[in-house]
């Protein structure tokens, strides 16, 4: 499969996901579908021809010509503020993709799957959660999701639904403030948290970690310390601008 060129896309839905992030649905005529975990390049063109391109993870998966992105605003950025604050249903942009063939999950494997997200790193993992739910594989999935506060959690309500009744095993980790009634501790994901909330290395899970660079470095190191083979830990880091 080759990626091909830029394809026109139309924003068909734009709703707030957190105080700083927005869910965008884009209709892309001719979109070939995508695996859970892939990303897409987004190109914006100003009226004078100035262009900017950025990559975003796709929160949706499968066939169909509508894809979902969850964009978190980087205050000093030039693309994310536009996508979070300015763009409206009916607006047009261009996409290239789907991209990436490694940080993906496809149904059919037998091993348990551990997902670990920091902040907006949930987006490609959400696509995997949805794919697992639809494939009847949710019970083999666990998700550890680290957020500053409950209101910073993208997909909070949907995750709550997917986690019930034999669904994905979901553990929240709050770093700044917890919701009322929360019994757990606050703080970063560390070895103790990983031991309690993730598949044991003996189960030979495949582990996907996505989030800011510092989070991913820290979590991946801790997973190696716990005995997970490096080759079974797949990472995707957000960093810089």
């Amino acid at each position: 499969m080759t990626v091909g060129g830029w394809q026109p896309a139309r924003v068909v839905d734009a709703v707030a996901a957190t105080p700083s992030a927005r869910l965008l649905k884009l209709q892309v005529p001719g979109w070939p579908g995508n695996d859970a975990g892939q990303h897409v390049d987004i190109r914006l063109t100003a009226e004078d021809g100035y262009q900017a391109v950025r990559s975003y993870s796709i929160g949706s998966y499968g066939p169909g010509d509508t894809i979902e992105l969850a964009v978190d605003e980087i205050p000093e950025g030039e693309v994310s503020p536009y996508l979070v604050r300015d763009v409206l249903p009916g607006d047009e942009l261009e996409v290239k993709g789907p991209l990436g063939g490694y940080f993906v999950w496809r149904p059919g494997g037998v091993e348990p799957v551990q997902l670990i997200a920091g902040g907006s790193g949930i987006v490609p993992l959400m696509a995997m959660v949805r794919a697992a739910r639809d494939a009847g594989a949710a019970a083999s999935f666990r998700l550890l999701y680290s957020v500053r506060t409950a209101e910073d959690a993208i997909y909070r309500d949907e995750l709550g639904r997917v986690a019930t009744d034999g669904g994905v095993g979901l553990t929240w980790r709050y770093t700044r403030a917890a919701p009322t009634g929360w019994q757990g501790r606050l703080g970063r994901v560390d070895g103790d948290v990983l031991r309690g909330a993730t598949w044991d290395p003996d189960r030979q899970p495949i582990v996907y970690v996505c989030g800011p660079t510092g989070f991913v470095e820290h979590v991946a190191d801790a997973l190696v310390q716990l005995g997970h083979p490096s080759a079974r830990i797949r990472t995707e880091r957000f960093g810089g601008a």
Binding site: V3, E78, L223, T235
Partner: protein, 197 residues
């Protein structure tokens, strides 16, 4: 004619003729790796070059440090769209390393601690185009950026500059490395946007 995005362009970054198409400037140094960061002890570290016949030359860290060391000032370009201008590195030229090897191979596969691989035409590792670098901005290269040593091939997208490099295997025919099997271009020239399949 590209689609115009209504109202876009109010906050724009400076452009620069040193930026390849589709890239933006960053002052940061983002990290992109497919897995955990390997930790390599210097007394265990080796860099080796293996030829098609199976012969291998290799250097320990101390032997490597005794080779001629070059200062390299260069721009770097990541396929994820960031570029960083005027970075400074120190390392050993591949010209120096390849002098120790007799081969008429045309391609090289770089191998890394941790299992990463990437393929590069051998011609593009010669003539002052590539180094094995161990210092960045005057400091030892951080593990998350590829330390103790990484390949530095700055005229190609930066995934070709393999982190944690431990050697090259010389090949008669081109073969895809890790990202080249996972959707990325066999060659990776940023000026012609050789990004994806």
């Amino acid at each position: 004619m590209a689609v115009v995005s209504r109202g876009f362009g109010a906050r724009r970054r400076e452009s620069d003729p040193r930026l390849p198409p589709g890239q933006y400037l960053t002052e940061d140094f983002p990290v992109l790796s497919a897995g955990p960061t390997p930790r390599i002890d210097l007394d265990q570290w080796r860099f080796g070059i293996r030829t098609g016949g199976g012969a291998e030359v290799s250097w320990t860290w101390d032997e490597f440090q005794a080779l001629p060391i070059e200062d390299v000032d260069t721009d770097i370009h990541c396929v994820t769209r960031w570029s960083k201008l005027g970075t400074s590195w120190r390392g050993v030229s591949l010209d120096t390393l390849l002098e120790s090897v007799e081969s008429d191979a045309s391609y090289a596969m770089a191998h890394s601690y941790g299992g990463y691989t990437t393929n590069i035409p051998l011609d593009e590792l010669r003539d002052g185009q590539a180094w094995v670098a161990f210092e960045f901005e005057g400091e030892p290269l951080d593990p998350e950026h590829g330390g103790p040593a990484r390949l530095l091939v700055p005229h190609l997208y930066f995934w070709k500059s393999a982190k944690w490099v431990r050697g090259l295997t010389l090949m008669d025919d081109d073969e895809p490395g890790f990202w080249e099997q996972n959707g990325y271009n066999m060659h990776g020239d940023p000026w012609t946007e050789e990004r994806y399949w």
